[in-house]
């Protein structure tokens, strides 16, 4: 470890590792620190990612692709099953990863590109000068060392503290924090190429249950519920999950317990400050509707890495110069999807089981050739006027504007 780098990355998940790799490949000196002893573990993820989206960044590798998904089933509260084929399911058809292997692959790539890496090293405070982030104090093995950097990247995940310490409000409203529990289960007959999503207020209020296969007889079985829907014994995610598993996987064996939180709020108002860029879950760019965040982490990490290279070359790492990062991702496919899915999520969390049943039944009857988001929403609203009422005029307008 040196005392000064061009770029310091806090957190070695997909966002941090891709930022480090991108910048190191362009010749920046980079240090990436990870507070855990082992990047990628423990897993806090359902591990699903869209095929085409992932391919933008990596060539799929059998070492970390656990399953290839060909279709998805959406199960309504009344038990009706709707099959979604790739055209219908869009990017939700994809891969289920082994994140423990995938994350390490990304860290390895960052290291191979020339980035320094430190594990079990915690950023315990930013170094600030006149309101500009200039690096961090790093705690390792009982000692604290100052490391200065031209640009610092906060990639410290859902539990991000670094940006907050730099003066950015990163608090997620309770109702927009999806609280999750998951078992890795084996010994059950599942379709190894199909994901399943269960919706309904008895199954998962303000969220859904997912079954993501990880090979023959093995799957991530998990649940996310709205943060304001649980909080008492019997109605916490783990309680809903245990009831679901008892009913659907009576003979399944649990071989791993995973807990976690996913923000389903809007992204941070600004993902940059003087000398600082915020990426991945720390920037609150996980998808508000699906909870997916792997692609968004890779994309924001890469974009931040590129902007760091440009800004340092021009000798300007002010908030104004780094805004290029913020503007780029907001204008991107991902930025647009986040806006649209936030509006859809705001409707989804208010639906009753009757609403959900009638929506899922009506979608199942739709003509596949018309299956784009706008026609989907038009059809849903036409078939379910009650849903349109819930949106209200303003909600309807912002939803249509976001498409």
């Amino acid at each position: 470890m040196k005392s000064t780098y061009d770029m310091l990355v806090i957190g070695a998940g997909p966002a941090g590792a891709f930022a480090a790799k991108t910048a190191a490949e362009k010749g920046l000196s980079v240090l990436m620190v990870e507070k855990r002893p082992a990047p990628g573990a423990p897993v806090r993820c359902a591990e699903g990612v869209g095929k085409e989206l992932l391919r933008e960044f990596m060539k799929p590798d059998e070492r970390w692709v656990a399953a290839e998904i060909e279709r998805a089933h959406l199960i309504a509260p009344d038990g009706f099953r709707m099959e979604m084929n790739p055209e219908k399911a869009g990017s939700e058809v994809g891969y289920v990863l082994h994140r423990k292997v995938f994350d390490r692959e990304l860290v390895w790539q960052a290291a191979a590109a020339g980035s320094d890496i430190m594990v079990k090293t915690r950023a315990c405070s930013p170094v600030m000068e006149n309101g500009v982030v200039k690096g961090a104090l790093l705690e390792y093995n009982g000692t604290v060392t100052e490391v200065r950097a031209g640009v610092t990247i906060a990639a410290d995940g859902v539990e991000s503290k670094f940006a907050r310490w730099c003066g950015v409000n990163t608090t997620v409203p309770l109702r927009e924090m999806e609280t999750c529990a998951q078992y890795l289960m084996t010994g059950s007959d599942i379709d190894p190429h199909a994901t399943e999503f269960f919706a309904g207020n008895d199954v998962a209020p303000g969220g859904y249950v997912w079954i993501f296969p990880k090979g023959e007889k093995t799957a991530n079985v998990g649940i996310g519920i709205g943060g304001d829907r649980g909080g008492k014994p019997g109605i916490r995610p783990i309680d809903y999950l245990n009831r679901f598993v008892k009913q659907h996987f009576p003979n399944g064996k649990t071989i791993e317990l995973i807990a976690g939180g996913v923000s389903i709020c809007k992204p941070l108002e600004s993902t940059v400050a003087d000398g600082l860029m915020i990426v991945g879950d720390a920037a609150r760019v996980s998808d508000p509707l699906t909870g997916g965040g792997i692609y968004n982490a890779l994309y924001t990490g890469k974009t931040a890495g590129e902007v760091a290279v440009d800004s340092l070359a021009k000798g300007d790492v002010s908030r104004k110069a780094l805004m290029k990062y913020d503007e780029t991702w907001r204008a991107s496919y991902m930025g647009k999807a986040l806006e649209r899915n936030y509006q859809i999520k705001e409707v989804f969390v208010k639906l009753t089981d009757d609403d959900l049943n009638s929506i899922i039944h009506s979608v199942a009857k739709m003509n596949m050739s018309e299956f784009n988001t706008l026609s989907l929403i038009k059809n849903i609203i036409t078939a379910n006027p009650k849903v349109a009422m819930k949106l209200g005029k303003a909600g309807l307008k912002s939803l249509i504007d976001s498409i």
Partner: protein, 57 residues
């Protein structure tokens, strides 16, 4: 003050980002509560997926 049931906590960090005061931090594999900052609002207790947090009066 918030107390952490370490036998239940799976150190997932879900509670940290909902804390309005920034009183919680996940340090490697344990959850740290800053007694000076915590206002005992209980929001983190509601967010915990496993029920590992309790308000201690």
């Amino acid at each position: 003050m918030i107390s952490v049931r370490r036998d239940i906590c799976a150190y997932c960090g879900c509670c940290i980002s909902v804390c309005p005061e920034g009183a919680l931090e996940l340090i490697d594999a344990y959850l740290d509560v800053d007694a000076n900052t915590c206002i005992t609002c209980g929001i983190c207790v509601r967010a915990c997926p496993l029920g590992a947090l309790e308000v201690k009066k």
